[in-house]
Symmetry: C2
Subunit: 318 residues, 2 copies
């Protein structure tokens, strides 16, 4: 029996392909044109959970191709403290699959009212979040029934990369995103034996990334908690040397997305080998086969990958 999660992971290449043409592409081009004309020095992101990890990915990508400063807006400033941010001249990017959590809607509204040019990335046209702005990209990942977001995470990142690429006229990045559907289909076939085994048994995990792959590390750490009940943390390869290193003893499982040297005291694992497309899209190629491993690991533990017992698909927080 196949899980919803397994089916949705398999749909990742098609979801990505849909972003390259049709209505989503038109919305992406319009958003990029607006920001290219505005030329904002600041990109403020609004998101939680997987969407916030997509924002991390996009913040690095935008920072690497430009001098734009990325800022992750602390949602409680809007939802609890009712602050109106001084966002005139800034770009704001709100990401939410469901588009319904009150804190996300409050922060997006505050950005718009504070003067930002607000762009919404969502998988739910007509959601409260989508109604906060005229600039909306429906990522078109189609219904996602597993609680753990997979295709919508990847689609959010790809949509954002397309916006950044067109905004900054980063042609190599854009070319690479066009090759993503095929590359992701290839990536999904790669074996992750060592990783699947560890994910299926460990109660602790550190995922290491840097730059855009830190956003993937955060996403995989969260998914390990959601699907495998594993206490999992994400660190940059620099941050881990400021203290966390001390906890690494006893063959501590570390998944290093940067493929660095093994950290002392750890069992360091790397994603499967694969061809490189572009540094700003490659982390997605590492992510895809590990999603497959996580789905299998959850089942190996006797857990339901589609419906973690304590979670619901839409999490409303303030």
């Amino acid at each position: 029996m196949t899980s919803h999660m397994a089916r949705e992971i398999a749909e990742i290449p098609a979801a990505c392909a849909r972003l390259l043409s049709g209505p989503a592409d038109e919305a992406i081009r319009a958003a990029a044109a607006e920001w290219r004309a505005l030329d904002p020095p600041l990109l403020v992101t609004v998101g939680r959970g997987s969407s916030d990890h997509a924002a991390t990915y996009l913040s690095y990508a935008c920072g690497i191709v430009s001098g734009v400063i990325p800022a992750s807006y602390p949602l409680s400033l809007a939802s609890l403290h009712r602050q109106e941010p001084r966002a005139a001249g800034a770009a704001a990017l709100a990401i939410s699959q469901s588009g319904s959590s009150p804190d996300i809607v409050a922060a997006a509204t505050a950005m718009r009212d504070g003067g930002a040019s607000l762009l919404v990335l969502t998988n739910t046209a007509g959601s409260p979040l989508a109604r906060t702005s005229e600039q909306v990209i429906d990522i078109g990942a189609r219904p996602e029934r597993a609680v753990a977001a997979t295709k919508s995470y990847v689609a959010s990142v790809v949509a954002g990369l397309r916006v950044i690429g067109m905004w900054h006229e980063a042609t190599e990045l854009l070319d690479a995103t066009e090759r993503l559907p095929d590359a992701l289909a290839d990536a999904l076939t790669r074996r992750t034996d060592g990783i699947a085994e560890v994910l299926g048994t460990t109660d602790r995990l550190i995922v290491v990334g840097r730059g855009p792959s830190l956003g993937v590390a955060q996403e995989l750490a969260l998914k390990s908690m959601e699907l495998c009940q594993t206490t999992a943390l994400a660190f940059s390869s620099a941050e881990i040397r400021h203290g966390p290193m001390q906890a690494l003893h006893g063959d501590y499982p570390v998944l290093d997305l940067e493929r660095g040297d093994p950290l002392p005291g750890t069992r360091t694992l790397h994603p499967p080998e694969r061809p490189s497309l572009h540094p700003l899209v490659d982390p997605l190629l590492d992510l895809a086969p590990i999603y497959v491993a996580l789905e299998a690991a959850a089942r190996a533990r006797g857990l339901d990958p589609d419906a973690p017992s304590r979670l619901t698909k839409e999490t409303a927080t303030t």
Copy 2:
């Protein structure tokens, strides 16, 4: 035998008092006057490890008292990717006790060269970081010999709160900081029995905070890793509902700085009861006695609180 760490925790009230008068106070007033005149809409922070957690604390404090947008600058954009950020008109706050790590110096330099009004908070006058700006606050916490920063973390936060208070003329916040030396001395006497016991035995911990106390939660999670080799994570009370909830089973130890209702599946602990001074300084009063508990917990585990085996006092990363 007393550890350096224990002595340095005991020095927190005095370090805090020194910030309220003398050379540090003059530098704080000058920095606040500059930013009040500049009126920046953006505060970009630069830091790693404990200093980054101080930056988290100050980002929320600044966001709560004003519409200034906080941004934590991804250090690798400067150190690895050589990006010059478009920081004209922004305030930048670089925090480092040693002031020597290359990535911190690179990011602070990039902020200055990108046009920001750069303020440096450091415990090391004359350090490479201090030389990046004419606006330097020597937090004057005096030598700190334990690897785990304690008095310098608190002093960095207090210095930053003073700057924010004077910049935004937040008189109640300033009044509260003036009462901090006595309140911290009182806080250090409060018993943390349940917490000390858990920190001395658990291999996993989640610390929950929100707003400024998220910065304290990050700091305590890091210290638990450094001192007790505990796998520890910090979450906001909203973020924990987006997935991590699933990992909470089997009396999972949770230290909730917000004193909320116990999370299902957890053994939820709260900091000791204490009087409230002001919402933006109270998290420091919760932190102080838990530092004491962490020092005792490390010793109870047979670990040296002054010198975790894999760490050095100054961590240089790029």
